[in-house]
């Protein structure tokens, strides 16, 4: 599946300032792996030692928080957009 990933400011050093990245992946987990292949080091910023999305990272597929979907198992279809957003904001 060809999907777009929005990269947040704190990670753009790793993506050489690319803000929107096009990748192929069938699930959110596969998308993270694919990102890691393209931009080494990015996965450990997003995923903690236990394999979960880091406490202060929110991930959205088409504007829905993946915790309301199937987390990293959330499946993707062509044209989906993944947003990675720092959790610490607002309030």
């Amino acid at each position: 599946m060809s999907v777009k990933v929005r990269i947040p400011t704190p990670l753009r050093k790793l993506t050489h300032d690319e803000e929107l990245v096009q990748i192929d992946a069938a699930t959110v987990a596969a998308a993270f792996t694919e990102l890691q292949n393209r931009f080494p080091g990015i996965k450990e910023r997003l995923i903690d030692d236990t394999g979960n999305v880091r406490k202060f990272v929110n991930v959205y597929v088409n504007e829905e928080d993946i915790r309301f979907l199937q987390n990293q198992q959330t499946t993707l279809k062509d044209g989906d957009e993944i947003s990675i957003i720092p959790a610490i904001a607002g309030g």
């Binding site: 947040p8 400011t9 704190p10 910023r45 202060f56 504007e63 610490i88 904001a89």
Partner: protein
């Protein structure tokens, strides 16, 4: 040339401890942890004594060494130092020895505690050279950013959920801010703002300016301490949306003790949420140190944050201080608003109703013992959330301008009282 930083030393990640310069930046680029301002407490201890504080004007800036700006404040100089009211009639109604109301319903200029955080964020934004400010808001923050930006001559964009109370929408528009109403929950507004903040070089008070902004809440805690005769209250009940205010009240008590402004004492910080948006309260009651995000559905729209940024730290503070969280239904929120209004003559917004009703619950359950004293943080004014209480607080008695009709009304009233 070294730029002046006042009593601030750096920004520091709360998770990994990495330090960053004092710019508009809120997230650690390694683990996404929140950045927090580090102060030079040794210098502050010399500069800031009770005598110095008491010699200053009655505003939140009497504690300015503990607020994150490099120079004198340029926005919101009159904010804060709201009354701490001894609420004897409410204490009797709830069956507790002593209750105090920290009354930010009359905070200047926009009648909520948000003026505290905004005056810090905008003063700092100006120091950093910004001319456009913005926020993601459940209403009160939007009002405060719009008003304070207008007074400071800054351009303001405020982003709110489109279903907000009329009062809160008008209260942002009137100051000339660009008000963007998003079709969605606050959490969606917040997500969009995080993306906008990454793209436009604006000072988003609760996104890239958040380390400075959030510190402004400490002033409410410092005032409670000073107005309590420089003592830490045994119990403090705080409403929770993102959970930030609760963590900063705790921090203010700790800083004051560290600087010798108050004696160390055991205290409990309790958190209040509406049942229709209670991720932190649910987690606390289940003994968890993490929360599950929710989709909000409550009349307490100012607390309707389903993914609370500081939820994790709020849980930690309650655990450390042996505090409790609880949550209350929409009906109990309205009853809480009425209890405070009928007993103390203070009309608070729905978030205040949440705080009052949760305090009542904690007293009834013995979490706050009846022979103790508690401070309730009342953060916003009831005139802004009229929609939530219209039709629930009684009705007018309509008569023609006739003495006979008036006396008939009195008689009927006496009959119903005596019945």
């Amino acid at each position: 040339m070294e730029k002046a930083t006042g009593f601030m030393k750096a920004l520091k990640c709360r998770e990994c401890g990495r330090e960053y310069p004092l710019t508009a930046n809120h997230v650690c680029e390694f683990d996404f942890g929140p950045l927090e301002v580090v102060y030079d407490y040794d210098r502050i201890k010399i500069a800031l004594t009770r005598e110095v504080i008491q010699s200053r004007p009655k505003s939140m800036w009497r504690y300015r060494e503990l607020l994150p700006i490099a120079h004198e404040p340029t926005v919101g100089r009159e904010v804060g130092f709201t009354p701490l009211i001894k609420a004897d009639r409410l204490a009797r109604r709830f069956g507790i020895r002593e209750l105090w109301i920290k009354n930010d319903t009359v905070n200047y200029p926009t009648l909520s505690f948000k003026d505290r955080v905004v005056s810090v964020a905008l003063s700092r934004a100006r120091e950093l050279g910004f001319t456009t400010v913005a926020c993601a808001s459940t209403g009160n923050l939007a009002n405060s950013v719009a008003a304070n930006a207008a007074a400071a001559g800054l351009k303001a964009y405020v982003f709110i959920p489109s279903d907000l109370e009329q009062g809160k929408i008008v209260n942002s528009l009137v100051y000339g801010a660009t008000v963007v109403a998003i079709k969605g929950h606050y959490d969606e507004v917040n997500r969009l703002c995080a993306e906008i903040a990454g793209k436009y070089q604006w000072a988003f008070v609760n996104v890239n300016m958040r380390p400075y902004y959030a510190e402004g809440s400490k002033s409410m805690g410092f005032e409670i301490l000073e107005q309590s005769g420089w003592k830490i209250p045994k119990h403090t009940v705080v409403p929770m949306a993102s959970g930030s205010l609760l963590t900063k009240i705790h921090k203010s008590y700790q800083e004051a003790a560290k600087l010798g402004l108050v004696s160390e004492a055991k205290y409990h910080i309790h958190g209040a949420q509406p049942t229709g948006c209670s991720p932190i309260s649910v987690a606390q009651k289940a003994g968890l140190d993490f929360f599950k995000p929710v989709k909000p559905n409550t009349i307490a729209k100012s607390l309707a944050i389903g993914t609370p940024a500081d939820g994790f730290y709020a849980l930690k503070v309650m655990k450390e201080t042996n505090g409790h969280a609880d949550d209350v239904s929409d009906d109990l929120i309205r009853q809480g608003i009425k209890d405070l209004a009928e007993c103390e003559g203070i009309f608070c917004e729905t978030a205040g109703g949440v705080t009052v009703a949760v305090a009542k619950k904690l007293i009834a359950s013995g979490r706050i013992p009846t022979n103790d004293s508690a401070v309730l943080c009342i953060t916003g004014n009831g005139l802004k959330t009229l929609d939530a209480v219209v039709g629930h607080v009684g009705e007018t008695r309509e008569i023609r301008p006739s003495l006979r009709e008036f006396e008939g009304l009195l008689e009927a009233e006496n009959r119903s009282v005596n019945a």
